[in-house]
Symmetry: C2
Subunit: 346 residues, 2 copies
């Protein structure tokens, strides 16, 4: 079996570590593995398949001879180095938002639009975590019953905001249980002006605000969903909320289909057979998805499927997935696998 030369930029970060774990679990055929990072983390030792690797500082020439370069080191690193990697013949799978809305860059969730990979010009974007789990669920429904409207309210875990946010949740929670004082300094957005308590709270801000009153995270869900599903006119709205959950994003999603004669059982049957989805929908047994039960699993979990009581084309769903896996590391590695499966990387 042929192996590929793989580079990973951001090898020491939370998602980078998950990518390594996923490459290992999937037994991805690697000939040579190059682990890269910013100057700050260069020199760190990392174990992969029982071998020790030293993380090197990412530079343009780091990508010479690389087949696939996985990027997860922040948007500014991607903007600088992804074109350099592509120029040197690597195909970049970028987990940041840097290129997602670039019309030249395919934005790919393999279960939904793997064919878009054929349009790649050296850079492929991995969508936002909260978008991925939603489109995996919506695509089979759109295909069979049509789709005209989506309204989503999210329940998002702090690990989406990185290791510092996880630390803040843990430290702050302990402080509150002890009755101690604390000063929020990371959430909701590290680079924004004000920081708020996340422990035992819910913060309706993820990423910064746009002029239209939506946050950038909400606009990502809206715009990325339309792009991935090739539905520029789909009506999509999002409200994104950060919760005191470490890992696992949940979504309360209302959709309207075009077919007038769809039942809850039809949608259950459809999603039961759909790729990448585990149906957990037996209210009579209190079976429904929850973030705590999604951690460490690659699938998207769907349940609480109900027909709207006023609109027979309306349905409500509850969608949960591990935001570090299908929302990031697993979807990126899955894109890499699909590139080899489709013969785009040989």
């Amino acid at each position: 079996m042929k192996g590929f030369n793989i580079a990973l930029v951001g090898a020491t970060g939370a998602v980078g570590q998950q990518m390594l774990k996923t490459l290992e679990e999937r037994d991805f055929p690697i000939k040579e593995l190059t682990l890269l990072s910013s100057e700050r983390s260069a020199g760190t030792k990392v174990i992969f398949k029982d071998n020790e690797y030293t993380v090197q500082k990412a530079e343009p020439d780091s990508f010479n001879g690389v087949d696939i370069a996985l990027f997860s080191a922040g948007g500014s690193v991607s903007k600088l180095l992804a074109p350099e990697a592509a120029k040197r013949g690597a195909i970049v799978v970028d987990n940041t938002s840097a290129f997602r809305m670039d019309p030249e860059v395919p934005l790919v969730v393999p279960e939904v639009n793997e064919q878009d990979l054929f349009n790649q010009k050296g850079i492929i974007a991995n969508p936002n975590c909260s978008t991925i789990q939603m489109v995996v669920t919506l695509e089979p429904i759109r295909k069979k019953y049509g789709l005209s409207k989506v309204i989503v309210s999210t329940y998002q875990a702090v690990s989406g905001a990185g290791a510092a946010a996880i630390d803040e949740l843990h430290t702050q929670t302990q402080a509150i249980l002890n009755g101690d004082d604390f000063t929020p300094s990371v959430l909701p957005v590290k680079g924004d002006e004000k920081h708020y308590q996340i422990a035992f709270n819910a913060i309706p801000q993820i990423d910064k605000f746009e002029d239209n009153g939506f946050t950038f995270e909400e606009m990502k869900m809206i715009n990325e969903t339309k792009k991935i599903m090739h539905m520029p006119n789909l009506s999509v709205a999002a409200t994104c909320v950060r919760l005191p959950v470490v890992t696992g994003h949940s979504e309360s999603v209302y959709i309207e289909v075009e077919d007038e004669n769809v039942t809850v059982q039809d949608i259950r049957n459809l999603l039961e057979e759909a790729p990448g989805i585990t149906l957990q929908d037996k209210p009579e047994e209190q079976l429904y998805p929850m973030p705590a039960h999604s951690v460490g699993l690659n699938d998207v979990f769907v349940g609480r499927i109900r027909q709207d009581l006023d609109n027979k084309k309306g349905f409500h769903l509850w969608i949960v997935s591990d935001n570090l896996l299908k929302g990031a590391a697993w979807n990126s590695v899955q894109i890499a696998e699909t590139l080899t499966k489709l013969g785009i990387v040989k």
Copy 2:
């Protein structure tokens, strides 16, 4: 100033204690206060305005001479004793779900439908906590711009499930931080078969499931909203989710108004002047409502008001309130105040 004879059933519970605090803070004109409970809690000593009261076992004759009886001791106690209290001339304000959908019983949020109090026949129902904060916000919008559709996803605190649920959240959170084992035994629903982790999790079940796949909590929001707002044909859908938050319910609400020419600023101006509401909506200053900032306050907090990007009649709102106050104790005491204001209790 005339004083009233007040009885409080469930004086030792979480909401009962809040009711006493609220009666004290509002300086409600009380001539005689009778504190009642189940047999189990009878004998407990309670301080009210520097006087010690002994809680007595609630019996039919406990209500002789009582003007207003506040009930918050569970549905079965209300079903048994509220009619007995009414028979003896008391007006009952019942905080349980026992009589809410009874066509003979007004379901009242004073900011919305205080006139319904004139139709009382001895029992008045206090709505479900998550319903109250939503209708306080929707009523001024309906009145000025019309209202045709409501889709709500809730983010609900554990205190709505009682003191045992608060204990479970705290104990379980500490166990997880310590890396210890734990066995859930209260949430999502004490009387249901399975119990799940609430700490660092989100549970999409509040109350038991109905045959249509909605939970009883969701159906309460749907049916109570229509009844309180006198809109039997309003389209309402709800998804109710329990969070690791102690106090303060949040709601992501999508509405459609009838007027075609409403702006976000119109709705802000309207809600700024509306009774019982504090507007917190300055995204440019990261000002929006959060449960941690609502605790101990009577108002309903509204922010994140956005016009839908695809439907100019569609708006998104984020509504937060202390579920033990406006959601329970304060709304009940406010009904009592309104009964005296309107001269229904003299």
